[in-house]
């Protein structure tokens, strides 16, 4: 990390709209507090994939941070639905989706990647891992694969869980 000029400041984050999809109230509070510290002003909170999907269409977020395991709809199914949404009334189906999960087994990470998750963050969460993941997600150009039945980050890329 350097002290060189950067766009990763509150001026930039203040322009972002972030959707949090998380069933734990404590985790939502933590994420909201950290995003506000970064300078994010527009934060939408929802409790499961179903309400997350509705919020995606309604609020058109710039980035989504989601839990994996939730009921009735989990974060994997929500991600798949967003990627398949096409131009959902102006909402961006290419939106970066960060999944934060306590399940860090290879099968879960691979499953998340195959649904179109941009990056996977292991719980417990730390400030540096969250910050790095958000900056990477919003600053890297998005390379997508589009084929029958799938649109999203390449399902053949290597994806490992970011850990503290």
């Amino acid at each position: 990390m350097s002290g060189a000029p950067t766009s990763a400041d509150s001026g930039f984050f203040g322009r972002l709209k972030v959707l949090i999809v998380e069933d734990s109230k404590e985790m939502r509070n933590l994420l909201t507090a950290l995003l506000e510290t970064m300078g994010v002003v527009h934060i939408i909170e929802t409790r499961d994939g179903e309400s997350g999907l509705a919020a995606f269409a309604r609020h058109k977020p710039d980035i989504i941070i989601t839990d994996g395991a939730m009921i009735p709809m989990d974060g994997y199914e929500m991600t798949r639905a967003i990627r398949a949404a096409g131009d959902a009334e102006g909402a961006n189906p290419d939106v970066p989706i960060l999944m934060i999960s306590g399940h860090v087994g290879r099968d879960k990470v691979t499953h998340a990647r195959d649904q179109g998750v941009t990056d996977y963050i292991a719980k417990p969460l730390s400030a540096d891992v969250l910050y790095e993941a958000i900056v990477a997600a919003v600053s890297k150009p998005i390379h997508f694969v589009e084929k029958p039945g799938y649109r999203g980050p390449s399902p053949r890329r290597s994806l490992d869980a970011r850990r503290s």
Binding site: M1, S2, G3, A4, P5, T6, S7, A8, D9, S10, F12, R15, L16, S24, E26, M27, N29, L30, A33, L34, T37, M38, G39, D62, I63, A69, D94, P96, I100, G102, K123, P124, L125, S126, A127, D128, L130, Y131, E132, V135, A137, V138, S139, K140, P141, I142, H143, F144, V145, E146, K147, P148, S154, R156, R157, S164
Partner: protein, 182 residues
């Protein structure tokens, strides 16, 4: 506006000639930062140490509040053990949900061992059969270990790890019993 590319011009594994079905397209979409900032965008976007420092302060500021919540959650776990073991599915679900929250959050707020014990408890609850729960020993021992880790956060890590291994041995012994008894 998305930029459409021929597969063979994209670097990496995806670009292998002859390896891409004709109905697959590769698309490069401008990043969120490029879209939001336009000409103001300075690439590459570097991490700002001041922002990170403020985020770490935010977590430290929430630690006291979380410690209080954690105590209440452990008290609730203790209440839920008995009904969960007697077959109350709502109590079992609530117990799992609390352990799941602890697994995800306790480590962030300086209680890594609480997170490890909660992870072990979640793993047990995810894999056990309803019959296993009638004997609540495994759950009780986990809840005791979580409570002890909160009350004595400076306990030697070796002792805590030994407790964790003992819990794992107990779970394995229960599994063996279940297999033996069919």
């Amino acid at each position: 506006m998305p930029e459409h590319r021929l597969p063979s011009r994209l670097g990496g594994q995806d670009s292998k000639d002859g390896d891409t079905p004709p109905d697959v397209r590769f698309i490069r979409v401008p990043s969120i930062a490029e879209r939001k900032l336009g000409r103001e965008y300075v690439a590459p976007m570097r991490l700002d140490p001041r922002v990170l420092d403020q985020m770490q302060q935010t977590i430290r500021g929430l630690e006291t509040k979380y410690a209080e919540a954690l105590k209440s959650q452990v008290a609730m776990l203790q209440i839920l053990v008995e009904p969960a073991c007697k077959g109350d599915s709502e109590a079992r679900g609530r117990l799992y949900s609390l352990a799941h929250d602890m697994r995800g959050l306790a480590g962030t707020f300086g209680h890594p061992m609480v997170s490890r014990f909660a992870d072990s408890l979640c793993g047990y609850l995810e894999n056990c059969e309803a019959e296993d729960l009638k004997d609540g020993t495994v759950i009780l021992f986990h809840v005791d270990a979580i409570r002890d880790a909160i009350e004595n956060p400076r306990t030697d890590a070796a002792v805590t790890l030994e407790t964790l291994e003992a819990l794992e041995r107990l779970i394995e012994a229960n599994r063996r019993d279940r297999r033996r008894l069919g």
